[in-house]
């Protein structure tokens, strides 16, 4: 029975990532964190940018200055407003007090919002060294953290290493393929002139999640391999999908390998 309650408490904590289960702290005898957690619950119903939301978390931190969750919850508004100073200060606190639970978020955000490639790699690899389980996905669910790590290596010029990481990830039979994984892999093959591999990756991306970007990059493969008609046809498909909003999208940032309409149209115009 005790084991059942323990699993229930831990389980609900894992799945309700927006707010820890305060009762779990009580169960484990951490009264201070329980009180801090209950104070943090006062932010419910308030926008994360709002004064009331922030003040509830300040109260939680005043009760227990080691309550990592409160620092992380506070940090999100600063992240989304582009305030790298306050965001990093808060996330460093969160990581200090609970590294295995917070390194994933700090690492991902360093890549997503600030293109801090080396910082993201350091956080993700540190997390991977600290835990025995799968390090999981980005907070928005679009990328496994190893895929994000690979994109950071690509940005730092280590394309072969990036390919190796993505290949290893997508070949794992237990892995659920991400919505952009094969697009990025295909672009990496294209950039390293491995055209056959690029076409295989783009075919897989088309099957998983058909996007304007994959057709644009597939067009570039056709151009590189001397197939002008296929090149133009893929550009036309890319434009069509783009205008249907079937393209890479993140409400906060512009993603790596994203293609813009003007780029597709310029390529089409150049062929006329």
């Amino acid at each position: 029975m005790r084991l059942f309650i323990l699993l229930l408490l831990l389980g609900s904590t894992v799945f309700l990532s927006a707010q820890p289960n305060c009762e779990a702290y009580k169960y484990f005898g951490d009264e201070l964190k329980y009180k801090a957690c209950k104070a943090a619950e006062k932010r419910a119903g308030y926008y994360q940018f709002s004064r009331r939301y922030q003040e509830a978390l300040d109260e939680a931190i005043a009760i227990d200055s080691t309550f990592a969750f409160a620092y992380r919850a506070k940090s999100t508004a600063y992240l989304k407003s582009g305030d790298f100073l306050e965001w990093k200060y808060l996330m460093d606190k969160a990581v200090k007090f609970d590294p295995t639970a917070q390194l994933d978020y700090r690492g991902w955000c360093r890549y997503q919002f600030f293109r801090d490639y080396q910082g993201a790699i350091d956080d993700i690899e540190l997390l991977d060294s600290l835990v025995a389980y799968d390090i999981g996905h980005s907070v928005n669910g679009d990328y496994h953290l190893h895929i994000a790590r690979a994109l950071c290596y690509k940005a730092l010029g280590e394309k072969e290493r990036a390919i190796e990481i993505i290949e290893g990830q997508v070949q794992d039979s237990t892995y659920f393929v991400g919505i952009y994984d094969f697009l990025h892999l295909g672009v990496l093959y294209l950039e390293t002139e491995q055209y056959e591999e690029a076409m295989v990756a783009f075919a897989r991306q088309e099957k998983e999640n058909d996007l304007a970007e994959l057709h644009y990059y597939r067009a570039l493969v056709h151009k590189a391999t001397g197939a002008p008609e296929a090149y133009q046809e893929e550009l036309r498909i890319a434009k069509h999908l783009y205008l249907e909003d079937r393209k890479m999208f993140d409400p906060y940032v512009e993603q790596m390998d994203k293609v813009y309409l003007s780029t597709i149209e310029k390529a089409l115009a150049a062929e006329r």
């Binding site: 582009g82 790298f84 906060y252």
Partner: protein, 167 residues
């Protein structure tokens, strides 16, 4: 004297972001209070301060004529690299009103370790000036019911060279 005024203006904008005597929280994190000394009176909100949104509140991402690539192109053509050993991030945060006009520009700057760091005005001045010249901001969420919203651009600088523009 003519060359001094842009620097004075820039100091006002940067300094405003680090005032010690302002209340801990405004309405929302990242809110920018109007300051006639910095902003003049040309820029006006369409609605009240309490109704200014964030650009991502509309789930449409950054909205600019010609998309983000058009912004990249403007900076590529106009920013001149400054040969100084200064690297880090420079955020310029501002408001776009319901007509697509921008104002209330404020700067936040850090080194590559996310610690506050001033950049040479030859770097920040250029970035501010080019950002203020951008005229393609689109009304959000659409032209039927446009709102005022906060937008920002973050510039990743390596040794005085502009490497990336975010978000």
């Amino acid at each position: 004297m003519k060359q001094v005024w842009p620097l004075v203006f820039l100091c006002l904008i940067v300094g405003c972001a680090t005032e010690k005597d302002k209340p801990k929280y405004l309405r929302w994190v990242g809110d920018i209070e109007a300051d006639a000394e910095i902003d003049g009176d040309a820029f006006q909100l369409c609605y009240s301060e309490a109704r200014v949104k964030q650009y991502f509140n509309f789930s449409q991402g950054l909205q600019y004529e010609g998309e983000k690539s058009a912004i990249d192109e403007v900076f590529r053509q106009n920013y001149q690299a400054v040969e100084l050993p200064q690297s880090g991030w420079i955020r310029i945060r501002f408001i776009v009103n319901c007509k697509g006009e921008s104002g209330r520009f404020r700067l936040t700057t850090s080194n590559t370790e996310y610690q506050a760091q001033d950049f040479d005005p030859k770097i920040t001045g250029q970035l501010l000036s080019i950002t203020q010249s951008l005229e393609g901001w689109k009304p959000l969420p659409d032209t039927e019911d446009p709102r005022d919203y906060y937008q920002y651009l973050t510039f990743k600088i390596e040794n005085g060279t502009l490497k990336e523009i975010l978000p």
